[in-house]
Symmetry: C2
Subunit: 136 residues, 2 copies
């Protein structure tokens, strides 16, 4: 598994505002999640901060992407509460052939937080007009 084959993109722009006071730097939950994941997954999986995934209302939001795999967008993640689940799910994703984690192996945060998924690019090249039959 090369480091660049699988990547986690983490939105670092979404704020999680606290009612009753003005916005502060520490309302940004993305950067600490990037730092924590980079520390845990160094040499295994690239963890890349991005300025906007256009989800905006479900921080933290991240993407699991990899060659020949389905891409998954997951939101509502917390850098403290969900760190271990994200690390384990990312490793399972990297170990999978197609990026699809069996439902029973998905952590609770991933079951609840799925925003969307995108088929691998090869789906278009290999079969441009036939329905897909892969499980979600």
């Amino acid at each position: 598994m090369s480091e660049s084959e699988v990547a986690i993109f983490v939105c670092v722009s979404c704020r999680r505002p606290v009612e009753g006071r003005d916005a502060r730097e520490d309302d940004l939950p993305g950067p600490p999640l990037v730092a924590a994941l980079q520390a845990r997954l160094a040499g295994e999986i690239s963890v890349v901060p991005v300025e906007c995934l256009a989800v905006c209302k479900r921080p933290c939001t991240l993407v699991l992407a990899g060659s020949s795999r389905w891409t998954y967008l997951i939101g509502d993640l917390d850098s403290d509460r969900d760190l271990e689940e994200i690390v384990e799910a990312a490793r399972s994703y990297a170990a999978s052939g197609n990026g699809i984690l069996p439902w029973r192996e998905r952590p609770a945060s991933f079951r609840k937080g799925v925003i969307a998924r995108v088929p691998p690019r090869a789906t278009a090249a290999a079969n441009p007009a036939a329905p897909e039959g892969l499980p979600s």
Copy 2:
């Protein structure tokens, strides 16, 4: 522009139920959108039906994807009302270098319907630890 370089993935499973009666085949808005887009974009852009994009609550949902481009997920599309806007936006997407359509060139249905976007894979390989600065 090769046909396989850019693809539109359309969810064909989401139902748009009508209150007051049982589900019917014609509550599925995805398949007619696939057929209409395939007719309009034959030889230009692959239009691929997929069974689930895991969005589920915003039919029709589609994905614009292409080599070296940002991937966009758009929902709340109607195969009659929005067909021309989808065709034009898909052509602009195919003609773009990075998949980002300037805001003023995005049709209304795309401005309202954005669900998420995903960076190109090269983002991870080229710059695994630096923030992205591309406009959304």
